[in-house]
């Protein structure tokens, strides 16, 4: 059993490394294909003229003017693995440093939203699935339909209008108050400024997991083992506790780990609206400003998170489900 799981994990890791490698190639090709000249776009004609010859050369070397794309990719990838992700043209800092700061900001947001939406979505799905066809089920279904039809950025705008502009109880943007020294920023300030973005992300994240859990729950409620449990007099919360929870939780956790990608995508939009200085906003700036090194690095980092999430989900399933854990046929 230990060995089986070991082999499984090894195969998953190999596949993940391959996927990340291919992602980096794909990103690299896309960036190379771009008709936008990063040097012109970023540094600008005037700045380019005022730079020393050496600096220009360094930049050109960085962009590998005159080298074969394959060579460029290999040297870029080799540097990347060593931790040298290049220099951000926009922030004039090593990409690694930029990402470290932005990622920390974003993680705060994303983890909160991920946990909140997971718990809320699971319970909404369970309630809805156990009361199929009743008003509460319709309410949850309607909510999910509405939320999945609502663009994340517009929801963010709405919340901003209501809480920031109209009620004036929450800040309109930024992760810390303007004009306050980094040292003067308290934990409370951080939370205060992250409430709206995190709330937006949580609200949108609920729909998927709730609908999925609802389907699972309906399947469970119609299963023979629940039929039998009901025939044995179990009902309501006891029935849910004995049979519903376990059987619904496993797929929900798997799904939610796989949903890391959506939270990541949502954070791009939400951070843009709230001017929250996280990874998502950096991605947008990098894209608009053609900061290729930063954009590539963000893509790869986010892919790492997504694939990592998927892998955790797979492994978790193997550990938690006795049928897989003990090597039976699932």
């Amino acid at each position: 059993m230990e060995k089986r799981l070991g082999i499984q994990i090894r195969n998953k890791v190999i596949r993940m490394v391959l996927l990340v490698l291919t992602t980096s190639m794909l990103t690299f090709i896309l960036m190379k294909a771009s008709p936008i000249d990063p040097l012109q776009a970023n540094v600008g004609q005037a700045a380019l003229g005022s730079m020393s010859h050496e600096q220009v050369e360094k930049l050109e070397e960085y962009w590998g003017v005159g080298e074969s794309p394959v060579k460029q990719y290999v040297s870029w990838a080799a540097d990347f693995i060593r931790g040298d992700m290049g220099t951000s043209l926009l922030y004039r800092q090593p990409v690694a440093d930029v990402i470290a700061v932005k990622l920390a900001n974003s993680l705060f947001l994303m983890v909160t939203a991920w946990i909140l939406s997971g718990i809320l979505g699971f319970f909404l799905g369970v309630i809805s699935g156990m009361n199929r066809g009743r008003w509460i089920d319709r309410l949850v279904k309607g909510y999910c339909l509405l939320i999945s039809s609502t663009p994340t950025f517009w929801l963010a705008l709405l919340l901003l209008m209501v809480f920031g502009v109209w009620l004036k109880i929450l800040p309109v943007g930024l992760s810390v108050p303007i004009g306050v020294e980094a040292a003067g920023v308290t934990f409370f300030d951080r939370v205060y400024h992250a409430v709206l973005p995190a709330l937006t992300l949580s609200i949108t994240g609920v729909s998927n997991i709730a609908l999925h859990t609802r389907e699972k729950m309906i399947g469970i409620m119609e299963s023979e083992y629940v039929l039998f449990a009901r025939a044995r007099g179990e009902k309501g919360l006891v029935l849910f506790w004995h049979h519903g929870l376990r059987n619904a939780l496993l797929p929900a956790i798997t799904l939610h780990f796989a949903a890391v990608s959506e939270i990541f995508g949502g954070s791009v939009l939400v951070e843009q609206v709230f001017s929250y200085p996280g990874l998502g906003q950096a991605a947008v700036s990098a894209g608009l400003g053609s900061d290729m090194p930063l954009l590539m690095a963000i893509t790869i980092i986010s892919a790492l998170f997504v694939f990592g999430g998927n892998m955790i989900a797979d492994i978790l399933y193997g550990i938690v489900d006795p049928r897989i854990r003990k090597g039976g046929a699932a």
Binding site: E224, L227, G233, H243, R323, G328
Partner: protein
């Protein structure tokens, strides 16, 4: 005379279904079913596979699917068995023994599942006794359903009934595809339950096995009960009443495996009146009308010409 534990009169169960795209129609899967079970008695309802007889078990336990409608009257120990009453009694006085392990939760250990999560000393002791009685090792309690070996399944499923104090046991197809020895043993377990004083209703497709252990046999054909007979009536063909039962009798191995032509009519193409009429040699014009279920020689029959 003492009230029967369970008495079912004119049970019918139907489903709503869409046909031809937009129209709804009603499917009568069980049309007219009558059966009685007394305390200490084992009664078998025998019908061919796929005839919807499992619904009988689901009806008694109040677990029919949401799109099913039930009619007729069910009485338990003298008073009507309403849905509220079922919900109070099921799992304690009225228990069901399902047909396969798929009726057990795949993620809950066997012992915990049989005990329904109860952990009090009495229940734990009781399960240990049941396991001892059925030659099951104590370690089995810690297994998951998928880890059970085929031989244990029956005894595990019956344990779910024995952990309670049942007055009525409904066994849904207790011998699906089992070899003869195991099947006989499984039926024997139910016989024991009846001998202990419970009323046992076994729903099965296997007439031969039913005759060996049950006191009475109710024959179910195309949605109706067509005959009710004591097991001993099956010793000779002449003591049987309905032509279909006689056909079943002739199809038993010891009587020469003679099968009759034709198949049971499908729910949607049910003939009027007697459902057996298309395959019956004695059928006349009168058989096209409603046939009453009448008493005859200590049993009951749904045939105009039975004597």
């Amino acid at each position: 005379m003492e009230e029967p534990v369970l008495k079912i009169e004119h049970l019918n169960i139907s489903f709503l279904q869409y046909t031809n795209g937009m129209r709804q129609s009603q499917l009568d899967v069980i049309r007219d079913l009558d059966v009685e079970v007394n305390a200490g008695e084992m009664v078998a309802v025998v019908g061919s596979s796929g005839s919807g007889k499992s619904l009988l078990a689901h009806a008694v336990l109040g677990i029919l699917p949401y799109n099913a409608a039930r009619g007729g009257r069910m009485t338990y120990r003298g008073s009507e068995l309403t849905q509220e009453r079922i919900e109070k009694l099921r799992g304690s006085e009225i228990v069901m023994v399902p047909q396969s392990l798929s009726y057990l939760d795949p993620l809950v250990k066997i012992g915990k599942q049989i005990r329904k999560g109860r952990n009090d000393q009495k229940t734990v002791e009781k399960l240990k006794n049941i396991f001892r009685r059925y030659d099951l090792k104590e370690e089995v309690e810690d297994l998951y359903p998928f880890e059970l070996s085929g031989g244990m399944n029956r005894r595990i499923l019956i344990s779910t009934a024995l952990i309670e104090e049942p007055k009525l046991v409904i066994a849904d197809e207790p011998t699906p595809g089992l070899d003869l020895k195991v099947a006989k043993r499984a039926m024997g377990h139910f016989r024991e339950l009846a001998d202990l004083g419970a009323g046992v209703l076994v729903i099965t497709h296997d007439l031969e096995l039913a005759l060996e252990t049950a006191d009475r046999v109710v024959v179910f054909y195309a949605g109706c009960t067509v005959e009710e007979a004591a097991s001993k009536d099956f010793i000779r063909e002449e003591t049987l009443r309905h032509p279909y039962t006689k056909a079943l009798w002739r199809a038993l191995p010891q009587h020469g495996f003679q099968f009759i032509e034709g198949v049971q009519p499908y729910v949607k193409e049910m003939p009027e009146g007697c459902p057996f009429s298309p395959r019956c040699g004695m059928c006349t014009q009168e058989c096209r009308s409603d046939i009453p279920y009448r008493s005859l020689r200590g049993g009951r029959v749904r045939c105009l010409y039975a004597t």
